[in-house]
């Protein structure tokens, strides 16, 4: 630790450095002093990068007086103990790394923390020698608050959607219970629930992408996917991420297929029926796509339905129209087979 005398000598040296800096850069220093962008200059000749200039914006952001920071090492500004990853980034940027823009957490005089986007840039003298670094700070507190607020709003919106779907379910069941037979009410309720499960899954993933596997798990769970006593399903496939629209449509498609299987197909008898679901990702030169096969076996002999209902219309129409996919739905006597080919952007390097 430096003695009091040493320290004041260091400070004096720093001050004279600041003075010569001021003289050399005259008008720029005035501009730097008054700009709203918080900025400091550090001495590149010292290993700990002491501050030789700090503008008013920086001082008000960090809460220090000018004489409290000039001569202090750059570390002095960081949270304590500094996050090792942030330390590495700062050291690398001072050493000339091209990654000289990043977000880190700093410490105010009062001990409070603040997130800033930092930009560290070298300053060379006429001879091309590194003499100083210029460091600018953009306060991200507002930005982080906004982010939190957006996350909160999105959560609230997801919750309200779920509640609205619950209300639709309740109104529909109440409205239909005397007018329609139970089968109709159950079919409607089942579809609303499938839609809500897909919404809920997408909501948890912030409406970005969801995995095909998760969509299948959510939708088939009420049909006994997790049942350990009777294995009814085999689900195998590559890790594929779906866009929200594709996820919603596929969720409804799987719901219809499973409902049909429960009524007439492989899930309609007590024991033997089974459903195999398998898919592969197929990167092609034009666009990536997946090829998926839903195959039922062990159920009663399959007869094609008399007329197209909601289910087959959704399966054939929905996939073709909404997702630009190809669907073949075969009522093979041994078990329903549904083959789907649809474009899915595959994420590279995952």
């Amino acid at each position: 630790m430096p003695s009091e005398q040493n320290k004041s000598r260091e400070q004096k040296a720093a001050e004279s450095e600041v003075e010569s800096f001021r003289k050399e850069l005259g008008p720029f220093v005035v501009a730097a002093e008054t700009t709203r962008m918080a900025m400091v200059f550090t001495d590149a000749k010292e290993a700990n990068h002491p501050l030789i200039f700090a503008n008013d914006s920086f001082l008000s952001l960090a809460g220090y007086g000018r004489d409290e920071v000039l001569g202090q090492s750059f570390d002095f500004l960081m949270e304590r103990p500094a996050d090792p990853e942030a330390r590495l980034k700062v050291d690398a940027a001072f050493a000339g790394s091209s990654e000289n823009e990043f977000e880190i957490c700093f410490r105010r005089k009062d001990g409070g923390m603040f997130w800033t986007a930092v930009f560290i840039s070298p300053i060379l003298d006429k001879m091309g020698d590194l003499v100083q670094h210029f460091v600018s700070f953009v306060d991200l507190s507002k930005h982080k608050e906004e982010e939190d607020r957006l996350r909160f709003l999105l959560g609230e919106l997801n919750h309200r959607t779920q509640n609205t779907l619950a209300t639709v379910q309740a109104i529909a069941v109440q409205t239909l219970r005397r007018a329609a037979n139970k089968e109709v009410v159950d079919a409607f309720e089942g579809r609303i629930l499938a839609l809500s499960k897909a919404h809920s899954l997408l909501g948890r993933k912030h409406w970005e992408t969801v995995s095909l596997r998760d969509v299948i798990d959510q939708i088939l769970q009420p049909f006994g996917l997790d049942d350990r006593r009777v294995i009814r399903f085999s689900v195998k496939g590559d890790d594929v991420r779906l866009q929200p629209k594709a996820a919603l449509t596929l969720a409804m498609v799987f719901h219809e297929l499973a409902t049909n299987a429960a009524k007439h197909g492989a899930l309609s008898n007590e024991a033997a029926g089974k459903i195999d679901i398998a898919w592969q990702a197929e990167p092609t030169t034009q666009s990536d796509r997946i090829r998926l096969r839903w195959q039922e076996s062990g159920g009663p002999t399959v007869k094609p339905p008399g007329r197209k209902g909601f289910g087959s219309r959704l399966i054939e129409g929905g996939l073709a129209q909404d997702l630009d996919g190809e669907v073949r739905l075969d009522y093979d006597p041994l078990g329903v087979v549904c083959q789907i080919i649809m474009p899915v952007p595959l994420e590279v390097g995952r």
Partner: protein, 138 residues
Amino acid sequence: MNSPSTDRRILLVEDEIFVVWLLEDMLTDLGCAIVGPASSVNQALAMIDVEAIDAAVLDVNLNGQMSYPIADALAARGVPFVFSTGYDKDTLLDRYRTFPVLQKPIQRSELSDTLAKLLTPKQSNVEAAIATIAEMLP
């Protein structure tokens, strides 16, 4: 039909009238007797004081009021319950994270499975969870 739910007294706490009707129907179909419905914390607490209750279905958010005081009161009496919510399970208070949750919209089969578990104590860890909460309460 005899199931663990037959003739059991279920407290229903829910503030949205259509959902109340739906749950009343679902519970009646399961053979339950309904206590309530209560649509606010105070109403529910008053019912808990005077009624015999075997289990409860609790909406988490009652018109902006959280239903945790009801959960606490039920836990203190050793009455099992399940939350119902449109929120994610992980938005529940820490001490209720391990409790059963029915995700809205509620599915008939999930309601009946969950109630059957609540009312057959040996099959669930709800009893232990309730005992833990009851100890934490003042």
